[in-house]
């Protein structure tokens, strides 16, 4: 089940071809609160896209529509050729096994040890793993995030940065092809935040994943993005590389880059 070796790509001149995720005309409201109004986004294989937006602009809502945790009012989310809002539970589980989701608040199961937290997705997914595979994969993934020694600890015994790493390890455990990060550096000190970003980049290289990253941390945007999408007023307001957007004259976009 291990991922293939990453194809040779010149880092400064990445070429992305097929989109693995395509969000088209997405609408979502809660009562009178129109959160997403015609939102569009495309994520290509091996690419990192950062979605930038103010608090409450609907970033988490958007990313939850992508994995089917929220049902959009209108629009489509095409992932691996399937439209997520239309899938039944079984099909959804098959797609979800290929998608990692790092929650804003980590969402570690606090009644389980770190080991059990990492084992949970492996035991529950439709893919069958042997006992040895599960054991080995858990240890390997913990080593990837540099926390092999915490395997028998409870989440409550860990620091915020460590918890984020464990959550990242759990996200990685099924070797997803797409990883969705919901504010991976929020609530961490700048140094720990930087470490997490480095880790994300390493993972991207090692497992050749595509990443959709939600953030308002400019350090994260600068170092982790191939492309940036600015979410304002429920839609994709501006788009481009970090460098392009820093030169953008629109006051609403400029706000972010000051």
């Amino acid at each position: 089940m291990e991922q293939l070796i990453k194809p040779e790509i010149d880092d400064d001149n990445k070429e992305f071809s097929e989109p693995v995720l395509k969000i088209q005309n997405l609408f979502k409201s809660f009562g009178d609160n129109h959160v997403l109004i015609d939102f569009n986004l495309e994520l290509k294989k091996g690419e990192s896209v950062v979605v930038l937006g103010k608090s409450g602009s609907g970033k988490s809502v958007m990313i939850k529509c992508v994995v089917g945790l929220l049902q959009p009012d209108k629009g489509s989310v095409i992932m691996f050729g399937k439209n997520i809002p239309e899938l039944d539970d079984e099909e959804l589980d098959r797609i979800r096994a290929k998608v990692g989701f790092l929650f804003q608040g980590n969402a570690l199961y606090d009644s389980m040890t770190v080991r059990e937290n990492l084992e949970f997705p492996m035991r529950r997914t439709w893919i069958q793993f042997s006992q040895e595979e599960v054991k080995k994969r858990v240890v390997d993934t913990l080593e990837d995030v540099g926390l092999a020694h915490t395997i028998d600890m409870m989440p409550a015994e860990l620091s915020g940065g460590m918890r984020k790493r464990i959550a990242l390890a759990r996200t990685l455990i099924l070797r997803p092809e797409i990883i969705l990060y919901d504010e991976p550096t929020t609530g961490l000190d700048p140094i720990t935040g930087k470490e997490i970003i480095e880790l994300m980049n390493e993972i991207q290289k090692k497992y050749n994943t595509s990443s959709l990253i939600i953030s308002h941390d400019m350090k994260c945007v600068q170092t982790a993005s191939d492309r940036v999408v600015v979410l304002i007023d429920g839609r994709c307001y501006a788009m481009g590389t970090y460098e392009e957007l820093t030169k953008n004259k629109d006051p609403k976009v400029k706000e972010f880059f000051e």
Partner: protein, 264 residues
């Protein structure tokens, strides 16, 4: 007489809280019956929950049942003596405990212990997005968390009631022996001679409903917990309050049913 406007106002207030609550709970219960009996079955988690739920409440129920039997006997004794029917003490206590006090007190303790812990546990899982995390990990959280807990509570409470009843009666035997002496064997003979099938069975049946109520209300409150740590506290608290009230309402219904069936 209620005027239409006050009637409307009252109805509106009811609509805001009570009816909403009832509607939400009915919907949740319907979902339980719709999803609970379809695969995949979470057998391992169900067994674990049975153990957790039963084992957790056992010491508390044991202690309260024992005290209840003992105190009830000591309180009844003077009146029984004054009527000269002291020898009927085991029979009276047996009927009171088995038909009514045992199931209701055990269910209330169960609501306090298990209802609140389910409410708080699921509430905090909801608030910290652990339920969402389960869902994206190929698990139906409703089946994994709710169905297992509700079934475990439904199954465990009748067992706890039976255990609690026995402990209460044991306490009562000790109460009798504080003044006067009755052998253990004689005491049990006296209890069982006066007990009919119709005393035990309805009481046993209603404890299934009590258990189900505690489980489903605890899960409902937790699963619909509002955001923030405050929401978790409110969930746990209202799980206990609502399930305690529902236990009494069910008790009232049960007595009507047994009465109508001629089992009283």
């Amino acid at each position: 007489m209620l005027t239409t406007s006050t009637y409307k106002k009252v109805l509106h207030q009811l609509n805001g809280s009570f009816l909403n609550e009832v509607g939400g709970l009915s919907h949740f219960t319907a979902r339980f019956f719709k999803q609970g009996f379809k695969p995949r079955y979470e057998v391992a988690e169900f067994v674990r929950q049975c153990f957790v739920i039963g084992y957790k409440s056992l010491p508390l129920i044991g202690l309260t049942s024992f005290i209840l039997g003992l105190v009830l006997t000591m309180q009844l004794r003077p009146s029984m003596v004054s009527y000269g029917v002291e020898s009927q003490l085991p029979a009276i206590v047996g009927i009171a405990v088995i038909r009514e006090i045992g199931p209701v007190i055990t269910a209330l303790i169960f609501a306090g212990k298990i209802g609140s812990s389910i409410g708080a546990e699921l509430g905090s899982m909801k608030v910290t997005e652990q339920i969402d995390a389960m869902e994206v990990s190929g698990t139906n959280p409703f089946k994994y968390l709710v169905v297992t807990r509700v079934l475990a509570a439904t199954l465990m409470l009748p067992i706890l009631v039976l255990l609690g009843d026995s402990i209460s009666l044991f306490g009562s035997w000790i109460g009798i022996n504080i003044r006067g002496a009755t052998s253990f064997q004689l005491y049990w003979t006296q209890v069982f001679d006066n007990l009919a099938f119709t005393d035990v069975l309805p009481a046993f049946f209603k404890s299934f409903f009590f258990g189900f109520a505690v489980g489903i209300i605890g899960c409902f409150k937790g699963y619909n917990s509002s955001k923030g740590t405050e929401g978790v506290g409110i969930s746990a608290n209202s799980a206990v309050v609502v399930s305690s009230i529902v236990i009494f309402i069910l008790d009232l219904l049960a007595v009507q049913v047994t009465d109508a069936l001629g089992l009283n």
